[in-house]
Amino acid sequence: MRKLAAVALGVVTAIGGFVDIGELVTLPAAGGTYRFALLWVLALSVIGAMVYAEMAGRIELASQRAVFEVLRERLGFKLGVVPLLAVIALNVLTLSAEIAGLAFVLQLVVDISYLWLLIPIALGVLMFQWFGSWTLLEDVPSFLGLPLLVIPAALVFGGIGVDWGDAAHQVIAPSLPTGDHLLYWTAALSIVGSVMSPYEWYFYSSGGREEGWTLQDLMVNRCTVILGWSLGSVLAFGLMIGSAVFFYPLSISPAHLSQTGLIAIAAFGKVGLTLFLLGAFGCVLGASIEVSQSAGQALSQFFGWSWGASRPVKDVPKFTATYTLAIVAAVIILYTGLDPIKITVISMIFAVMALPFTFLPMLLVANDRTYMGDHRNGVFGNAVGVFFLAVLVIGAVAALPLVVITGGGG
């Protein structure tokens, strides 16, 4: 019964926590521009995210260590510092995007420029983490994010005509656009970066430590990942398909949350808008917390500092200082005047560049019998893991030239 409850809670939090500002920006834009032609990338990314999330959880369970603890032990300081720096830099950039996303959602509600909202929001996110427990940090935003299901609900029950057959066909046999190939592949990379953000599974793995998982929880880990990520991806598919149906015929590529919200309004009116805004706020709040916590967790685990969201701030000073500094740095980046949407897209593409540096060490550890015992990767796990690693290496190599040539995705 306890395991069933754990799986149920894990699945619910995974659904509510699946979407962040990266997905809220990149998926509707991709749907509006390329209709269903990038659905295959989304499907592939979701599978890749599930593979590595399961691996991260299994590493935690088998070794009783979170991912960055094992990375330090297995790779050593000199090599381990590479994924550490990549993740920290990526987290700060992503955090900028998340805080800007929260400000945009609130701007739609209170009609004050988002620039005025950045500092209060950053303080709110900070206070929540200073005084909140692990359960509060993980569960509250995830439950708040559930109303975002209004988007897929709008597609199913809202009277919006969706050609599901064509959408399914495009997942399996996509028809690539005849022009703008560079922009198409840049959009594809930003989708990969938004769905496969490394912070998600580092945070997930650290959550195992926070909750004291043991090897008895192997099945909980697997079920949570498979069910939670699959059902969570319903939100992501909803965003892209909804935008494809709603905006593609009008040749509009939605670049703002308010435009994406039109899908919910069209189906359910004001109630739909309210649910959309509440869901978007919950999802992005959850992501802000996850990203900042993940920065603190990564550094603390790597250097052997005490850490833990449920522990009093005075007991984990370096951990607290790290995520506090990450939030401060993210706000400073936003006040430099850079376009938050551009920051979001670039952070997603930077994520693709950083992913191989974080995936390869995980794959190495997951194959190490010293750490994993009988729970190390099997042939299938390695085949899938290596396949995604190869895809990401190709993406990482192509990312920088694509960003430069297309000016950050156009």
């Binding site: 032990e73 050593g76 300081f77 052997g304 500092w305 522990r311």
Partner: protein
């Protein structure tokens, strides 16, 4: 056990659950035909040494930006170690505050050297062949680990993909079960400043399967809180 695999970079906690840091290095004391591992080193100074020239530059620049501990480390003797477990070193209670312990003393050539310096040294066999150290095999601590020998390979960096650690049970993904050989400390090896001299040709050294057991330290009984 193998020092690189089972000690270096592992977490240091005390019995009260306080995190002390990570094992950044260990001293290896040399004696007549024998060697022991002691003490454990933790701190920024030991970490930066691992970065070579980059670390030296950071160490020099750090005081100019207000960080005055870049060249310091702390040392923990094995008498203060309550238990060595898989992936962690457990200290006696209340040892999380290590202020006042010796900080950053430098190696005395021929008497002691740091683990990270030892594994960087090339190993030369009688034919002049250059091989490298993959790890150092020791006994389990009693009270301190005694060095049994070196694990050596012809191209340790390439073989381990540049990784510090390896899985001696497998060859996949950086494992080194094959092609790695065991050089017993009792084989009259000489450690010089620039190289380790191996009296036996590399190809005559025993394979790992014939080496003393590398049983790792036991797993902790219970998972620890973060």
């Amino acid at each position: 056990m193998d020092v690189g695999r089972d000690v270096i970079d592992h977490r240091i906690v005390d019995l009260d659950g306080h995190d002390v840091g990570r094992v950044d290095d260990v001293w290896i004391y040399l004696a007549e035909g024998a060697a022991v591992v002691s003490p454990i080193v933790t701190g920024t100074g030991a970490l930066l040494r691992q970065l070579g020239a980059v670390g030296d530059r950071i160490t020099r620049l750090a005081p100019h930006v207000g960080f005055r501990h870049a060249d310091r480390w702390r040392e923990i003797v094995w008498d203060d170690v309550h238990a060595l477990q898989r992936a962690q070193v457990v200290l006696e209670p209340r040892l999380h505050d290590l202020a006042g312990r010796p900080e950053g003393h430098r190696p005395r050539p021929g008497v002691e050297l740091l683990y990270t310096d030892l594994i960087r040294l090339p190993v030369r066999d009688p034919s002049g062949r250059r091989i490298g150290v993959v790890d150092v095999r020791t006994t389990l601590p009693d009270p301190e680990p005694a060095v049994l020998g070196l694990l050596v390979a012809a191209h340790p960096l390439r073989r381990t993909l540049g990784l510090k650690r390896f899985d001696s049970t497998s060859q996949r993904f950086g494992g080194t079960r094959h092609h790695t050989r065991y050089l017993a400390w009792s084989a009259d090896i000489q450690i010089r400043d620039d190289a380790i001299l191996c009296p036996v040709p590399f190809t005559d050294l025993p394979l790992l399967s014939a080496a003393p057991s590398s049983a790792p330290p036991p797993m902790p009984d219970q998972p620890d809180a973060p």
